[in-house]
Amino acid sequence: MAFLEKSFLRILLLVYCLYAVGARAQDSPREVRAAAQQALVKGEYETAAALLLQLVEWYRESKDNETIAGMEMVYFNLGLCYYLTGQFGTAEGRFGDYVKRYPRGLRAMEASVYTGDAQRYAGDLDKAAGTYQAVLKKYDLDADWRTDVLCSLARCALARDDWETALPVLAQARGYAPDWARRNWAGTLLATAYLKQFELDKVFDLAPVLMQRQSFTTRSIAFNMAALETADQLFADEHYREALWIYRLVNSREVIETGSRQHLERLHEYAADLRAASGMYRELLRTQEAIGEAEAELEALKGVENYDNELRSRIARSYMETRRYREARRLFIFLHEILEGEPSEEALYLAFHCSTMVKPWDEAFARGDMYLAKYPGGTWYDAVSLTLGQMHAVQKEWALLIQVLSKALEVSPQHESIAECMFLLGYAHFMEERFPESVSWFRRLNGNYPGNDREEEAAYWIGMALLFDGKYELSLEAFNAFLAAYGESIYREDASFRSAVCAYGLSRYREAQEMLAAFNRDFPDSLLRGEATMMLGDIASYYGSLDEAVAHFQDAVGYELNIELYNYCCFKAGEILGDQGHFRELVEHFQAYIERNREESNIPQALHWVVRGLWMQDQRDAALDTFIDGVKRFGADRDALGVDVLLDEWIGLTRKLEPDAGSQAWRKLARTIQDLSATGNRTLVLRLKRLLLYRSGIEASEKLILLDEIVREENIGDASPAVLELIMDEAGRRGNAELNLAAAREIVVRFPETDYGIGARLKLAGAAIENREWDLAREHLQVVIENFATSQEAAQALYMMAQIHLERRQYDEADQCYVDILGVRQWRGPIWPAALFGRGECARLRGRYDKAAAFYERIYLLYANYADWAGKAYVKRAECLVKMNRTREAVEVLESALAQEGLQETDAWREASATLARIRGESQ
């Protein structure tokens, strides 16, 4: 406050120094009054004071009412001049004199306020407060003046650090203030008081007032220090949410400094304008007081250490503690970038930590990797590396886990979580099927760190790794050792089962049988009981105890088994029953299977067995009905791919029947279709209509009608893959490219994993090539090549891929495709000479004529039976020879071609003739 007064005085004195001019004694009262007025307008307050004092001397004792009235402004202005020149004691007296003489004067209230101000600036705060209180009581003030007086009253209390007295006054000031600036000033100081009193709700109510760039909060040291202290206290007491909200109100030191300087600059400019404008004393006084305050704030700021990064860190930690991890992470990343040394390292660690709490973990992996790379052996190196390893484990990224933790143990051989790291490494190697390394890690772990937390698990996984590595003897030993050492382990049950599996793996079936039987006895509720029982079935089957085997397999189905093992047990039991000729049991067995109808059951295959059982029992009608019933039951499902296979099988069976019985079966089928048509199940009806196409003796016209009904665009959405394939092929035959491709697309989209997809993709690839949509074509071909690698279609796909490369002048890639085709023995056939020809083309187009000529020669030497290719090869070889100026040899080649019987009058023969004629013509 003292500083504030000093600066205020400085400004007033400056005003005085600029304008102080002497008065002349010979002037008349009228001239003195005019000169005083002029001096006032010019801001020459000292001169004005002298002149006004002269007038007072002349008319002090006057009783004339007119003179008394005319002197009112003289008395007031005299007080004002002393006030403005910083002579507060004199000003107080003069204003007092004015009020006494003119208690109802126009400026009485104003003079009283200035009296209070003068007392306040003179340091007499109690007296000033009393004066302000009296003003408030005595005068009916407008909002502007009332606000000023209340603010001044509050300043008196604040100068004594008496927040309790200041609080209600500030609240009133805030309520009355007609302008934003004073409202905000009062609001800021109110908030400061509430912070000191820990009345957080009241602070939060003021938050919008405080969170503004123009707000007094961006310059007030008192407010920011109070907020910082309160937030720190809340943070220390772990009230992070409230701490966060208060921290967000705190302005950085940089903001305060910059804000204060800019504000001061603007105030100075504004004060200069006001002085130049003249007459706006009150506004000038207000501005000068604000200048004083701003200077005081800047001075006080010098004693405040920079807390900006600590504040950011606290905010980030508060976000972290309140689970706003993303917000925290962003701030920690920023802190990491702007800080140095350990604080920077810690910020990166915390950014990583926050990232681990946010899915997906991409950012966590990035930050973790960054930490490991930047701070090998850093304070949090072990924690970060372990967490990264654990995260890779959760994501089953075993290779990455191995990479991270192997490196971590290299960098930090005394890793704080070494046992956990080694265990994870052992486990990851196991999952990567790197069993010897897995065993090695687990053994090193238990060897080097006996009694570690993972010892028991590691011992178990040693057995598992050995088992999966096919080292049954060692695995059995490991499991036995494990069971001996950790009899109460939660892995006891699993280890017991695995040891039996080892015995089985060692072909010690009797031993395995005993162990499995013991396992079922000891762990009747085990989830592995189904698998154990299944193995007992296998062993019984091995020893030829087929009834026992069937009993085990059927028993196993009653326990927990995954669908693969479930199907295995069911079909194994069924096969044995079939082989044994127990057809009634066979039928019952698979009927039960069909009834259970577990997800991913192979119903068509089961139906096949039921039909076989019935057929073998000579129940042929029942067998055929079973097919149709099964198809009716499951055929509405487009995804039941086996249904189409079953129908094909049905056709085969009807052909084995007597003609009458066969015809009857077909008639029955026709009736079924008719009945089903009414149900509107299009998938099923389309399937059965397709079946009708294969009826023996079907008329061409009937077939055409059926095809017309099937091969329609509107059927595509309901058709099974076999029907779609029919639509695709038939549409192709009919030249309906649109429908042909639509069916192909449906197969690819709806049944991508099936064999039906191969033809469809080739079709789509062909169309894409025609349209020069290379990427699309490559996409389809790549699927065929990768997913159906050994199929004939894969060869065709490779051949088409090569054509694309050729088209795009990617000769190396094209050649590689041809090489791949020639590398698969099963593909020997017409595609080999084609591929060889392709290789020749690749060489020729790159100008390697000798190499190309050799490829072409191989074609007509090795694949003469493929006349087309042989013919083309002769011509191309001849062309290459010409290019190499070996015209004579070229002529010989062509003559040889024309002499080949198989080539006579073929296109190649004609081309050879023409080429020969041309060469001869050119060489003459």
Partner: protein, 363 residues
């Protein structure tokens, strides 16, 4: 000079710096007024000439400003004479006197009637748009104030208004974008960059995303500590929201929230945006936390109405009923907060306050 001092904005005052988005009052007339002003924006009538005192190295002259073309200011003398031109670089300071009802503006802004307040200020500012970039133009800060009020009015309508209000908000944003563009040309003005980003935000708000993106690219990325960073990050996040890339939008919104708490407009807007993103990503607990902060820190504003609305939705649907997994140290060492309870209490207090307010209004 006398008039200049009286009309010059006090350095610490700022009508626009009041509470954000108090509930709309008599905004209809203001809205209509703004629609009219929008029409004016495209016309020549607004540019008939602006009286100004121009300070140059050679002295002070009272001129009628006619327009700015390139680096030349076209003018005529206030006391008549032919049209002439001077280089803008020759100008040191420009003082323009504008007339508007200051007490009505203060009253409207203080009462949170931003549409009305904006209309009062935008009207005299609009003819000055071509001249806002002139060096030390005393009305450029006033224009910034008008921009802030206009955006606040539009934002409020867009946030909690009906379709008509949102349509009006669109018009206000378009006007704000034009105003922002003019202010952003004033390179000497400390708020120019912020105005530019505000302009990009306005374009985004009216769906002119291509223009917004292009402007953002032109402006570049400010430093996190710059005053304009909040608007930059918020605008970027808003653009990502429009592309329905909520994860990226959330990160953008968070940048605005964590680096800018000094802007009473961008801060709550960014908070609200992150709240929406958290919802879209199914992170309901975080959405609740953000909406709670919004409702608690911006009482008596449209942000509170919005925040309470979202909180009610989340609690009514039981979206935060399932407890979150606690980290060990939080379980044992930290006071367990029941934030669902706190949110319910916040809603209850709000409802009670509104009921009491309605009752007292009826009396």
């Amino acid at each position: 000079m006398k008039a200049d001092a009286k009309t010059k904005m006090s350095p610490s005052c700022g009508m626009a710096a009041g509470l954000p988005g108090r509930l709309p009052g008599k905004v209809r007339a203001a809205a209509m007024c703004l629609s009219f002003l929008l029409l004016l924006l495209g016309g020549e009538s607004a540019l008939a000439g602006v009286r100004a005192t121009v300070h140059t190295g050679k002295g002070v002259r009272d001129l009628i400003l006619l327009g700015v073309a390139g680096n030349q200011l076209r003018y005529s003398f206030a006391d008549g004479g032919a049209e002439s031109a001077m280089p803008v670089t020759a100008i040191e300071r420009v003082h323009i006197l504008i007339e508007y009802d200051r007490s009505a503006l203060a009253k409207a802004a203080g009462a949170g009637q931003y549409g009305t307040a904006a209309a009062i200020l935008v009207k005299p500012i609009l003819p000055l748009l071509p001249f806002l970039s002139l060096p030390s133009n005393n009305q450029t800060p006033t224009a910034m104030e008008a921009l802030v009020l206009l955006m606040r009015a539009a934002g409020e309508r867009q946030l909690i208004g009906d379709q008509n209000a949102r349509d009006e908000a669109g018009r206000q944003y378009k006007l704000a974008a034009a105003l922002a563009k003019a202010i952003s040309q004033a390179e000497w003005f400390h708020g120019a960059e912020e105005a530019a980003y505000r302009g990009a935000f306005c374009l985004t708000a009216v769906g002119e995303t291509e223009k917004a993106v292009s402007l953002m690219e032109e402006l570049g990325v400010p430093a996190e500590t710059d005053a304009s960073f909040g608007w930059y990050a918020l605008t970027r996040a808003s653009l990502l929201m429009l592309k329905e890339d909520y994860a990226a939008a959330l990160e953008g919104g968070i940048e605005s929230v964590v680096f800018e708490a000094r802007d009473v407009d961008s801060f709550p807007a960014a908070l609200a945006l992150t709240g929406v993103c958290y919802e879209k990503l199914g992170e309901w607990h975080r959405a609740r936390d953000v909406h709670m902060a919004l409702a608690r820190l911006f009482r008596e504003s449209s942000w509170e109405v919005y925040g309470i609305g979202r909180l009610k939705h989340i609690l009514d649907k039981g979206l935060t009923q399932a407890e979150e997994a606690q980290a060990v140290h939080q379980v044992f060492f930290s006071g367990r907060e029941d934030l669902n309870k706190e949110a319910s209490e916040l809603i209850e207090t709000y409802s009670k306050r509104k009921t009491e307010g309605t009752a007292s209004n009826e009396k």
